[in-house]
């Protein structure tokens, strides 16, 4: 082994040692806010009457981002017309929230509000490779439009299909999703939808307290609610919580499991760093061994099998 070989070997091993520690740091950043004192909203489908005042309020308080209702790309009848609910709607780049109506067997229709659930460990934020989406300690998952590259991996990652994209915008396409009114919360105001709800179907507060309120409602109104607070454990817990008189899956809530998807990738990223280190060391060592072997049996040994570099 001459000096140059030694140096290249040394550099390789150094890289092998530093790389995994880098990745390890990356993986551990997935758990930012393990203990949650976060803010959230509880939606109670037993109280919701589907008036869509929350939708109108959302459009109004987000007027700097969203178009006014009469300028929607696919205009709907005014918010007072209920025929809009004849079909299932979805949030898009012009709507942060929609209320859908679910007709289940012969009971009165049940309504469920749809918007970003502000997961405790948001898959979208962990999937974002420029930190354009991030979880704030207060609860909201917020978006920095000036960082977004438009890769749309957040949309792939989100188990609830929340982030929406304006595909037809040529020069400044962005992700659109509910912010839990983070700018209003900072000013001490309620989220627009919560403020506008005439039936107290939306309750704003600390997530911990909302869970207690929800449990109390289930206990106090025997037979009204199904015994399941959607969002308590789903994908590791979400800041938005849901109570319902019918099974949540009948209200279009997906069955997503209790594991936070971010945990799955954090493990992999950690392993990737370790694997990179071990591989570099192993391949580097193999390289040295095989180059010595080739020196030992030079010219002519298996001649003609290569491009003649052993001559």
């Amino acid at each position: 082994m001459n000096r140059r070989k030694f140096l290249s070997c040394f550099t390789t091993v150094t890289a092998a040692v530093t790389l995994p520690s880098l990745r390890g740091a990356a993986a551990s950043s997935a758990h930012l806010f393990a203990d949650t004192d976060m803010l959230g909203v509880l939606h109670d489908s037993a109280r919701c009457i589907g008036c869509r005042k929350c939708e109108a309020a959302c459009q109004k308080v987000n007027a700097d981002v969203l178009p006014s209702p009469d300028k929607l790309k696919s205009p709907e009848p005014s918010f007072y017309y209920r025929s809009v609910m004849d079909k299932k709607r979805h949030t898009d780049f012009q709507r942060f929230t929609v209320v859908n109506r679910y007709k289940i067997e012969d009971r009165l229709p049940v309504y469920r509000k749809f918007q970003c659930n502000h997961c405790i460990e948001p898959a979208c934020a962990s999937a974002c490779f420029v930190k354009a989406l991030r979880k704030t300690p207060e609860g909201p998952v917020i978006y920095s439009p000036d960082l977004c590259v438009g890769c749309r991996y957040c949309m792939i990652a989100c188990p609830f299909y929340v982030p929406a994209y304006d595909y037809d915008n040529t020069w400044n396409p962005l992700i659109y999703k509910c912010t839990m009114c983070a700018p209003r919360l900072a000013k001490g105001l309620l989220p627009g939808c919560v403020e506008s709800c005439p039936k107290e179907a939306l309750t704003f507060g600390r997530r911990k307290e909302l869970l207690q309120i929800a449990r109390q409602r289930i206990v106090d109104n025997q037979g009204i609610y199904v015994d399941h607070i959607y969002g308590e454990y789903e994908v590791g817990g979400t800041c938005w919580l849901y109570l319902s008189p019918v099974p949540h899956k009948n209200l279009g809530q997906p069955e997503v499991g209790k594991t936070a998807p971010t945990d799955l990738t954090a493990d992999i990223l950690g392993t990737a760093g370790l694997a990179a280190g071990i591989l570099t060391a192993l391949l580097g060592a193999t390289c040295l061994v095989s180059s010595r072997r080739n020196k030992k049996y030079p010219a002519g040994h298996d001649a003609g099998d290569d491009r003649g570099d052993e001559q």
């Binding site: 960082l147 977004c148 304006d166 915008n169 997906p254 992999i268 390289c287 491009r307």
Partner: protein, 390 residues
């Protein structure tokens, strides 16, 4: 692509000689204009529930999988001292470099704000994202494969001293290139680990990174064989006697290695099926089994027979099937199995424009490969540098 345009020919002659290429390029240019004037929505069928479509699957997942031959052959030659792979080192490195280069070009079409593509590396690093790791790998491997090809470029330009310096870098870079290649291939599988509720359980496993890695290895090695076959047919003029003489043994080497990885992959998949066998009776199950039987088991047997009976043709045929098998796998994971629980009306099907743009980029890549092979010592040894690749 079929016949070369001589320098004294006019543009019109070029078009006459290659009508298909000319049409592809014209349509591609038109669609490029459409993409950058009417946005992604103007040329694709993507929507809020299907944010990644044909481009992501074909240009990125398939393209990078079959470019794996680059680091695999380079590592076999420089790291493991398997000198009979030497004949393929520069040609696969060229393909790998072009594959990665055109992946970046594809990303310019694919992402919403391509001018921000350097952000994840230089401006705001989202280190918790698998995509960040992929970005790093693409960036690093682009530079590594370019540096590994520098000797060929410098031989072409006749810069002897610089070539001598560049060649010293090649062996350490082969080590780092292999590590980055392995991490990159597995990260592509890891992309979908974050979506356990969206990918059909037959394809979803937290071991997807390993599945993608092993399948990319045999896809990449098979692609080396296929590429050798195509080069022999269309680029024979740029080869020298040495290349033609030794290519056959290298084909066997690649075939053997690919065969090994195929059986490893089959074993892995069978073990993983223990958890998911209840889904096998559905339509997805049939597709899954077809992919495994036709796309992996069949070519594995073809390669095995070809190697045992020393029949190059059978190895080449097996390699073609294997490449198609992996392409099918990537389409299945990212388009068929993805969003399997959405109603049919909300599923995605590519627009013709998406497919045409991918064909356009692929054609450009082939043209670039041809340009390089016709000028630089890739398929032959430069007459002044008899010592060859190293």
């Amino acid at each position: 692509m079929n016949s070369e345009c001589k320098n004294n020919n006019t543009l019109l002659d070029c078009i006459k000689n290659n009508p298909v290429t000319a049409i592809i390029l014209l349509v591609g240019l038109g669609l490029t204009v459409a993409r950058f004037t009417s946005g992604i929505g103007g040329v694709t069928n993507l929507d809020n529930k299907n944010p990644w479509g044909f481009w992501m699957t074909f240009d990125l997942l398939c393209g990078i999988a079959i470019a794996a031959g680059g680091f695999a052959v380079t590592a076999a030659y420089y790291v493991f001292g398997q000198k009979h792979f030497g004949v393929f080192v520069r040609s696969t490195l060229t393909t790998a470099f072009l594959g990665y280069f055109f992946e970046v070009i594809a990303l310019v079409y694919e992402v919403g704000q391509p001018w921000r593509l350097p952000y994840p590396i230089f401006w705001s690093q989202g280190t918790s994202s698998v995509l960040f790791l992929i970005g790093l790998c693409v960036f690093a491997y682009l530079m590594i494969s370019f540096t590994e090809l520098l000797p060929a470029v410098l031989e072409w330009l006749g810069k002897k001293d610089a070539r001598k310096k560049a060649i010293r870098l090649v062996t350490p870079l082969a080590v780092i290139g292999a590590v980055i290649g392995i991490i990159h291939q597995s990260s592509l599988g890891a992309l979908y680990v974050i979506t356990p509720s969206k990918v059909h359980p037959l394809w979803y496993t937290t071991l997807m990174p390993l599945n993608f890695l092993v399948s990319s290895l045999f896809a990449g090695l098979s692609m080396v064989v296929v590429e050798g076959l195509l080069s022999h047919k269309f680029l024979h003029a740029y080869m020298d006697g040495q290349h033609i003489k030794t290519a056959n043994r290298a084909v066997f080497g690649c075939g053997k290695a690919a065969c090994f990885f195929m059986f490893a992959y089959l074993a892995m998949k069978v073990v993983q099926m223990a958890d998911t066998s209840q889904h096998l009776s559905s339509g997805y199950g049939a597709l899954f089994l077809a992919e495994l039987a036709g796309g992996v088991a069949l070519p594995a047997l073809m390669l095995l027979t070809g190697i045992a009976r020393k029949r190059t043709g059978l190895i080449q045929a097996g390699a073609i099937v294997a490449v198609l098998g992996v392409v099918l796998n990537r389409f299945n994971v990212s388009l068929v199995a993805f969003n399997y629980n959405l109603p049919a009306a909300e599923r995605y099907f590519p627009s013709w424009m998406e497919i045409a743009l991918s064909v356009f980029l692929f054609t450009l890549m082939v043209a670039a490969y041809r340009f390089i092979c016709s000028r630089m010592p890739v398929l032959k040894t430069h007459k002044e540098y008899g010592e060859g690749v190293v």
